[in-house]
Structures are given as C-alpha cells and as structure tokens.
Amino acid sequence: MARQEIQVELLLSRRVYALNGRVIGRLEEVQTELRGGACFVTEYHVGAYALVERLAAWPIGRALLKLFGGTRRGGGYRVPWDKLDLRDPARPRLRCEVGALKPIEEED
C-alpha cells in the first residue's frame, strides 16, 4: 500500500461514517504524542452533533451547538488511530463498531 499524504486541516470538520454508512459525527481533533522527535497520531476525536448539524462543519458552529445542547450522547467518541480508514480523506470511515469506541468526557 503506497504512502499517502493527508492535509490535516482539510480532514478536520469532515463527517465520519460508521461501518453501516451512517454519519456518527464530525472529526474535530487529532490527538498526538511526541516520541523520539517525531509526532505520532494516537487517536481522533469525533464529535456527535444534532439540531442544525450543518453548523458543526465550523468550529464556531460546534461551540454554539455545545452551548445549546446540540450534542448527542455525551459529546462524542475517541477513535484510536488504527480504527479510522483514511484511504479516502474526504470520507473518513470507522473500521470498527461504534459501540467499541470510548466516549469523550465533556471537558473545558
């Protein structure tokens, strides 16, 4: 499999799809760890939004939705790096069941 280069800034805010093709949320953060001078991706944070879901395409929209209770089931999911299929960066897909994902604790 060839090496792929992905622009992280274009990945953020994209809808993330479950195995069955349904949208589970938007990719809102990429957590990394610094090891030996290199930066490795550890997990992706996918925020689950309802109400005016289109707003969640923008960080300010997500902030507004969080404020007005437009988030679903506790805020979102943590997706380990190996459980997200990025071969098509425009359509990130889960590689596992949604139920297997840990939730993001509401912080901030």
Binding site: Q4, Q7, L11, T32, A38, F40, L86
Partner: protein
Amino acid sequence: MNLARDCLDKQLLDRHGRKMGRVDGLVMELEEGAQPRITFVEVGAVTQAARLHPRLGRFVAALARRWGRAPNDPYRIPWAQVVPTGDDVTVGVEAEATPALAWERWLRAHVVGRIPGA
C-alpha cells in the same frame, strides 16, 4: 498534544522569536498498518486558499506559479525542526532565509524600502 487546539493556526516563530506566519496546514503521512505521523508544517497562501475551497486553492496555486516570488509549492517545514510550545509554534529556521518571508523581502527591496523614512 492536540493538533487543532495546540498547533494549527498558531503563530510561527523562527529560532530568534521572529514572527513568520501561522501554521496554515499540517501534513500527515499515512502508511497502511503503520501509525500515522505528522511530517510537515505547511505555510502559505495556497494552503490557506485550499481551506476555503478546493477550487480557490487551485486558483491561488496557478497565481503562485505565474507571479510567485518563491518555489511554487507550499512552503513546508519538516517536523524535526518544529517545537510546539502550547502558546505558539517555534521552528528552528531562520525566517529571513525561508520562502515564508519571500514577499516581505521583495516589498522591502522594491517598494517599501524606496519610500523615504522607512
């Protein structure tokens, strides 16, 4: 470190603390089965334009090829030289030597520098 919160869009400072733009983009290298790595910080108008709309990105890239003051690809800084501090992102380069300040240098020499009192 969280990329969106701590790295993207943060102020870039060179090794002397001089401002040289912002982190406009981050390049992730993906290999099947291997843990993804962030390989470059990307700076420049083409990267910015692409964030607004892919067509705008291509348009600005075309402009850069015609009028560019620097190598035409977006300026990339290898991760080995990057130190995110939480507040901003310091890179171990000399701003003056990089394409990030290409327009600054050109304007200084040809326009601003020629006006008395600069």
